[in-house]
């Protein structure tokens, strides 16, 4: 087993995903099959090899610090599930 049911539960929580028992079993099986396959990477000697996280090898791309037009507030809020007084609205996150 590459990934245990307990791992799957933890990753589900980190991923903000809920699942029932049956789905938990199914995902554990499928993720194990995929990770068993991925295990082949351990056969590759990568001693001294630099990682490639990006093909263009870009560092930070900066532009001049000038104000430019941006999306109007009402447009930015247009797709919000809930809004109030020009803000995105979410459930209460602080007590008291």
């Amino acid at each position: 087993m590459k990934i245990t049911r307990k791992d799957v539960e933890t990753v589900a929580f980190l991923s903000r995903l809920a699942m029932d028992e049956a789905e938990m079993d199914k995902f554990t099986g499928q993720l194990n099959a995929i990770l068993e396959y991925v295990d082949m990477l351990n056969k590759v000697d990568t001693e001294g090899v630099e990682p490639t996280d990006h093909i263009l090898n870009l560092k930070n791309v900066m532009r001049a610090d000038e104000a430019k037009p941006s999306l109007a507030r009402e447009l930015a809020l247009k797709n919000a599930p809930e809004q109030e007084d020009g803000y995105f609205k979410v459930p209460k996150i602080l007590e008291g």
């Binding site: 990934i3 791992d7 799957v8 933890t10 990753v11 589900a12 980190l14 991923s15 903000r16 995903l17 809920a18 699942m19 995902f27 499928q30 993720l31 099959a33 995929i34 990770l35 396959y37 991925v38 295990d39 082949m40 990477l41 351990n42 590759v44 990568t46 090899v49 630099e50 990682p51 490639t52 996280d53 990006h54 093909i55 263009l56 870009l58 791309v61 532009r63 999306l71 447009l75 930015a76 247009k78 797709n79 919000a80 599930p81 809930e82 995105f88 979410v90 459930p91 209460k92 996150i93």
Partner: protein, 487 residues
């Protein structure tokens, strides 16, 4: 000749000579959609009113004898992960079912500047995750060559629409083969450009270091025309390449003499359909006969590409999709606090494959596993890229299959994610290395098209197009139209 059967460059000629009007062309496409969409299911939404208004504007300019861009008045479709201001953009997901972007993607702006006619938004695997378009939250698209089979994915709607005459051209996106695989399965042309050649601004992100927008068309000439329209630097995409864009139609020369083509033998994987293998070898023989210099090359890390891809892509996806928590946009489900709201929203809004990849990505990135999975994959990615660098010291283009088989039956692989992933084994190395590659038809197995892959150097789209055009013009596969499975 029915108008829906014509390519963009053929239609452009007819528009210029005023043999037909842009409205007639648009109406011919919608008539075709009305006739076959029940069977093909290529579209998530149609934009007929806007399309006809745009066609009328083009007709006014034609009437005034204005010189118009190559794609003016030519109807096309966009994959539904490309933002169009004021038009629903779902990404094939329930979580974005009602998302109406307040802005255009850069490619949308560029196509608007060309005065193209947008017929609709094409179906796709949810968040571009899939190889069959069966993972769409809305519908299963079908292959116009045989409606019991998949059109490939994730840009399955785009490829099916073009193959069935429901759009003259389309845009797809390709993260691990999502333009090339459906193009191959549907017998049309699909190009994944060099990473950074086309702006990703306004493309709903899946795996940002791999995603690239590109054309799906009926022939190589149209592919070059669409590339001319969409390629180029964009200050809004910091990963776009600031290099001059050549006129890609200059590459449409049916002459491959002196071009060096390489055959990476590792692409002929175990389990490859012998008929697919035969067709690809026959294509290479033909290119040799036409004057290409040939060399077998070795790319020893090819077999590790798929495993590498599934670590890199899912890790990036798990981060990109962290934004869908029901706050800024998209679906929201009720919860007593922020965490339960996010959890309810994501659990109900994402389909099984998306949830699986988020889980896989978060696992690969999580403390204790990061080095073993994610970092290891990034190092192997370096070795895969070096294989390409080394091969391109000796050759101009690489020729390989697109997929181990032709299109498979709907439902055949949906319960076995790994079997589905294996369809991408010949396409993912290209995304990991960031190089351009085209898919075009090179034969049939029974009535199903087989795809040929031609891979180029970074920014080597012109070489790829030239080789593809030469092959195309010396065969007649591109003249065959899909029968729509008994229609």
């Amino acid at each position: 000749m029915e108008l829906y059967k014509l390519t963009a460059h053929e239609l452009k000629d007819k528009l210029t000579t005023k043999e037909v009007s842009a409205v007639e062309v648009a109406e011919a496409i919608y008539t075709r959609i009305d006739a076959v969409e029940d069977k093909v299911q290529a579209f998530i939404s149609l934009t007929k009113e806007n399309a006809l208004a745009q066609a009328r504007r083009v007709d006014e300019k034609l009437k005034a004898n204005e010189e118009l861009p190559a794609l003016a008045g030519i109807p096309g479709a966009l994959k539904d992960n490309i933002c169009v201001e004021g038009t629903k953009t779902t990404c094939g997901s329930q979580i974005l079912a009602n998302f109406v972007p307040p802005y255009n993607a850069t490619v949308t702006e560029k196509l608007n500047a060309q005065q193209t006619v947008l017929v609709g938004k094409a179906n796709m695997d949810e968040f571009a995750m899939g190889s069959s378009t069966e993972n769409s939250s809305f519908k299963v698209s079908r292959n116009p060559w045989d409606t019991d089979t998949v059109p490939g994915g994730s840009s399955g709607g785009s490829a099916a629409a073009v193959a069935a005459g429901q759009a003259v051209w389309a845009l797809g996106s390709d993260t691990g083969g999502s333009i090339r695989l459906p193009a191959a399965y549907c017998g049309v042309v699909g190009l994944k450009p060099t990473y950074g050649r086309v702006s990703r601004y306004g493309l709903v992100a899946y795996a940002s270091s791999l995603d690239q927008i590109g054309p799906i068309t009926r022939d190589v000439t149209d592919c070059a025309l669409v590339m001319n329209a969409i390629a180029g630097y964009d200050h809004r995409d910091s990963t776009s390449i600031n290099a001059p864009v050549p006129d890609y139609t200059q590459a449409l020369v049916p002459d491959i003499r002196g071009m060096k083509i390489g055959l990476p033998k590792e692409y002929f994987v175990a389990g490859m359909d012998p008929d697919v293998e035969k067709a690809v070898y026959a294509a290479i023989e033909q290119l040799k006969a036409l004057g290409a210099e040939y060399k077998e090359v070795s790319m020893p890390h090819t077999e590790y590409a798929l495993a590498t891809y599934y670590m890199v892509a899912t890790a990036e996806a798990s981060s990109n999709l962290a934004r869908y928590v029901g706050v800024g946009f998209g679906q929201r489900e009720k919860g007593e606090d922020l965490i339960s709201m996010a959890t309810q929203t994501r659990t109900q809004g994402f389909g099984a494959e998306v949830r699986r990849r988020i889980m896989l990505g978060n696992y690969a990135l999580s403390s204790g596993y990061y080095d073993a999975y994610y970092l290891k994959a990034l190092k192997v990615r370096t070795l895969i890229k070096r294989d390409f660098d080394k091969a391109f010291e000796d050759v101009d283009v690489l020729v390989a299959p697109i997929a181990p088989t032709t299109a498979f039956k709907i439902g055949e692989k949906i319960n076995d994610p790994l079997a589905m992933y294996l369809q991408d084994v010949c396409t993912v190395p290209v995304n990991l290395a960031g190089v351009p590659a085209i898919s075009l038809p090179c034969g049939f197995k029974g009535h199903m098209p087989i795809g040929l892959q031609i891979i180029g150097k970074p920014l080597g789209e012109s070489d790829v197009l030239k080789a593809a055009y030469t092959f195309e013009q010396n065969n007649d596969y591109y003249k065959r139209l899909a029968p729509l499975g008994g229609a």
